[in-house]
Symmetry: C2
Subunit: 310 residues, 2 copies
């Protein structure tokens, strides 16, 4: 069993309209809804890979019920979300049919009270006892202390559970000092943490700050991983055109599944890059095509020029 | 008891953002939600005026439950919405904080099956037996026949219940022939029905087509009413600056309450114009301030130049 934590989950709504005109009135031609927030996306991909996943974090209001109803119909995903009095946020992606361009409207999410935060901490500690790995994903909702992830990393380490952290800004900076097993920043997040836009240098700096392994997401250029012993750079086998929504979450699912399956690092990275690419190439945002994934997996390998021990 | 029918109700959501930029990402600073759709707005104003109101139409999905939860906490409003398998639509008003300009995104609403439509017709006929007037308001959802309002007008007339109709286009054209007691088109809707942009001429034409009384909404210029015996033009007592959302629905509530209280036409029109103006002047969209309404009511009267029997 793998645990994913999503402190600020969402109901992701997609609207298709002809073309967005500020201050105009638009008829929405198509509405789709699905559970969102990084940790829930990671869970969905892990479940599709055949892993059992428990999801926790917060849920509230009518939107929270919709998220939970949809999770209940996702095989392999166990709902352990903690109730809050506020309503789970919506995110609305407004897609222009003419161009495919997307305008995003993100609600802030409910303010979490200190009692609700305490209830979550108790639930989290209980859930850790039965899991082989935990992923801490995404932004913090209003009311949750900025050092939240640092505390969650420490609790996981005390319980002997490997922890992957995917967040940014001050919550990342504080949590890195608590020595997470893996962090997965993109170039901008890594630069904010370390001051360096050069991925290898930044990753080495992040390791000195406390992260055991740093996997840097390079967008269309793949992933770079820096461990205690080596570093690798893995690129997608093909030029990717498509929707990058959820590609980073698919990469996290690849890394996490490879961790619990005790794959060597190059295989974990190949899986993460192939999953991520299959997500970009899928017609629906945040989904991946299994056949495309398996085909790509056979063609991904650490590029020779940058492979090997550092 | 007054009955209002809203075949395509909505959950009206308002987002405040800094400024809408197409293809950008926006953080929503404030979210408000309330039941929407013309008939539900009319019911809320009638209840605030002290009338008991039953609301019917369709409800479905998580958004339908939110609408019903909010109706349940509105004193004076009785929920008799009929369940459908699809989800009640959302409308999203995105308000720019910098300018107050609003961008509107409207979901289409659920498709109503023929079985659901039949269930509604049975419920409607039952509800008519206990009411003193009925208002038929707004657009038709997908799946409802274009002659729907014509049938609902006939059923009400057979039951001896006065009927006010507030809709547009082909549903209005067909329903006018079924001889509703009052229709309340705006200038554009009247022109679409009659071909005339001149309100008095258009209203007289609409009367010939079957409407007993025609009340034309002239926007900031008030209302014109044409009955069998006379016509009046009532203007607001002050220049109105504010949000016109719901002003038309407040006017309908004014007309309908005046009808069941058996007020003379000039008093009904004064009430409708004062309520409408108090809605435009209220800080929250679609609400009205009772003190402002009462103050305005004392200052509204049919303007002498255009008053009197025609």
């Amino acid at each position: 069993m793998i645990l994913t934590v999503t402190l600020n989950p969402a109901l992701d709504i997609t609207y298709r309209i002809r073309e967005l005109r500020p201050h105009g009135t638009h008829r929405v031609s198509e509405v789709t809804e699905r559970p969102g927030g990084k940790g829930l996306n990671v869970a969905r991909v892990l479940a599709a890979l055949g892993h059992e996943v428990t999801v926790t974090g917060f849920t509230g209001g009518a939107t929270g019920r919709v998220v939970q109803d949809q999770l209940a119909s996702t095989p392999g995903v166990l709902d352990a979300l903690v109730p809050v009095s506020g309503a789970t946020r919506r995110t609305i992606a407004v897609v222009d049919e003419l161009t495919g361009d997307t305008t995003q409207l993100n609600e802030p999410g409910p303010t979490v009270t200190s009692a609700e935060w305490a209830a979550f901490l108790a639930a989290y500690e209980g859930l850790l006892s039965g899991v082989s790995a935990v992923a801490l994903c995404g932004s913090l909702p209003p009311g949750v202390p900025v050092g939240a992830y640092a505390g969650l990393v420490r609790t996981a380490r005390s319980a002997g559970v490997p922890v992957l952290l995917d967040t940014s800004g001050e919550p990342l900076r504080r949590a890195v000092a608590a020595r997470p097993d893996i962090i997965k920043p993109n170039i901008e997040e890594l630069a904010e943490l370390t001051g360096s836009h050069e991925p290898l240098r930044g990753a080495q700096d992040a390791r000195r700050r406390g992260a055991h392994t740093v996997v840097v997401s390079l967008g269309a250029k793949g992933l770079m991983a820096v461990t205690a012993e080596a570093h690798w750079h893995v690129t997608p086998p093909t030029h990717l055109r498509g929707n990058p929504t959820g590609a980073g979450d698919s990469a996290v699912a690849g890394l996490l599944s490879g961790l619990v399956e005790q794959l060597p690092w190059p295989d974990r990275l190949s899986r993460a890059v192939a999953l991520s690419a299959a997500t970009v190439l899928a017609p629906a945002a945040g989904e991946f095509d299994r056949a495309v994934y398996e085909e790509l997996l056979g063609r991904v390998s650490p590029s020779p020029g940058t492979t090997g021990r550092s």
